[in-house]
Amino acid sequence: MYKILFKQDLVPNVHLFKIEAPKVAKKAQAGQFVVIRVDEKGERIPLTIADWKQEEGSITIVFMEVGTTTHRLALLQAGDSLLNFVGPLGLPTHIEHFGTVVCVAGGFAVATIMPIARALKEKGNKVIAMLGARNKDLIFWEDQLRSVSDQLIVTTNDGSYARKGLVTEPLKELLESDERIDRVIAIGPSLMMKFCAKTTEPFGVKTIVSLNPIMVEGTGMCGCCRVSIGGVTKFACMDGPEFDGYQVDWDLLLARQRIYLEEEKISFEQWQSQHGISLDDV
């Protein structure tokens, strides 16, 4: 059992857990993830490692409520435990001194990009961070991200905070400016990553994305997470999750993410009826 040491509600549907998992904390690196299971009947789901403290033996995860498992997670409190917690899985982000790196985070992926931006900064890179959210209420960790970057640009789709629009707009402007950009790392919803890659492609700046296909065990033994990279099949849990954004077959990724929509709905409706929650409440 893996104890929840600390819980924080970051924005209405996004929560942070600090979890006791010393073996994982000892080895965690930026860009890696864990696979968790709430209880005996639960699904195994992957979540990115947002932070880790070796001394404390803890791993921080940040998750958004989207379906059954993440809603069930959200009901847990500090002191409760998760049944399973495996990691650190996937390859760590490739970190070196590149020069100037743009780190783009879509929505709650700010938690995913944090350790990457920090590691890049520690290696002496100039880090330009961009944070895009649907609206003001969904923004968190703005100050933290600013603290590990040289410059931070925030956008909201509805203009309720900072610049109005999508992150791809300032990204494009930056690429058109005189500033030399050596690498872009874009993490967020699949469509946002796809459009970031489309934006940078004409400029030929290496663009890394972190893919989130459906996974089962996360150790390379089932092939559920397969993605097509430059026409070659790769297992995201083992060969990724980060890949060259220009090489990704986005349509395939999006289609494979939708495989279980109907079952996810059945599962969620059952869960809601058992918990006396209606769709309007969540």
């Binding site: 009947k41 917690f85 150790t219 390379g220 559920c224």
Partner: protein
Amino acid sequence: MPKLNLKREPMPKQEPKVRRRNFNEVALGYDFKQAQAEANRCLQCPKRPCIKGCPVGINIPGFIKALTEGNMLEAARILKDKNSLPAICGRVCPQETQCEAVCVLAKPGAPVAIGRLERYVADWQREKANSSSAPTPLAPTGKRVAVVGSGPAGLAAAADLAKMGHKVTLFEALHVGGGVLVYGIPEFRLPKDIVQAEIDYVTSLGVELQLDSVIGKIDTVDELLTNGYNAVFLGTGAGLPVLLNIPGENLGGVYSANEFLTRVNLMKAYLFPEYDTPLRLGKRVAVIGGGNVAMDSARCAIRFGAQEVYVVYRRSKEEMPARQEEVENAEEEGIQFKFLTSPKQFLGNAQNWVIGMECYEMELGEPDESGRRRPIVKPRSEFILDVDVVIIALGTTPNPLIAATTKGLETTRWGTVTANETTGKTVKPKVWAGGDIVTGTATVISAMGAGKRAAASIDTYLKGLH
């Protein structure tokens, strides 16, 4: 000399019509009378040829004799002497190519049903005997061994090492122990409470089982050795699915057998939504392959409610590597076989879901390296099979993680780890390996045998340490 009795006692089974829609065990096991009748057919041959057919050399006439005498405890003891997993092997060993193949009654066509008797004795012991029968380990030696992977190879190695007095930690990547026995072989062929009983037995010997522990991601093998383990046994199996590399392979509805079986067996998708892991299954399912994995996938698919299930195999029936008994079971359950057929590509709809499989007809040519006749494509023989789910069951290779994170291991071009056949010793000091990681997909009993041999070799090595 007893009279020659060529009537094998049939195994009681669930009716095909009933069992094809449930996940309960198919073969129900002998009762006392049936077991006695079958055991009495054994001739107690002075030369005991059957023993050589068993990869771990069980004293087969010995346990059968004890059984005929009603001395069940002795029969169980003889089995456990060589085989720590008799309830499992009695169910899943390919007996027709091992012990029963060399039984003197095999020639006239009715070998003693050694596997079924082994199962009977092991089940009796689990259900009836006092479970406090775990032997007391020898005095602690103070030596520590890390066993990586809890499939049959790892379980056997861990059990023997613990009995020898060593302190054993068993690391397992998944959330339960058992390896293929839990995530691959389905409940209806090997009930999971039997596997769990074997794991409980191993931990009762003092073995510490650490789940959720991927070696190479947490500590590496080298770190285990520097952190206080005196030796490491690698029993990580061959878990990486082989795909076909043909167009359409990543369409929705195309599963590797590993994913399909993991969802069904490990995650219990057949109990969805009570268990939360889903599985999307259609009406017409094609399973590609001809081994045990293909049979298991096909039989799970029919139990999931598929209307038509095809096993598509590129050679003919004679060459199929699956256990004969399971092929017969599959046929009885209504699985259809398409022999001499090989996929060319998968066709999808606008939603990227598979709707068909274009196939070639094949014919058999000259024998290849495996001694089986090589399948060759018949020109212009393409046809389309309408399917909405495909399961690729072509086999697996070892996961590269261990080899990639362990300095000084030697691997072959198939990704298997090189180890001495009799000792399991790898070329790397203090590291042994056995089971599918060394041989590629083989059998439960051969993996177990490799685990036992390595345990003996590790014990000798540890005794030489000071």
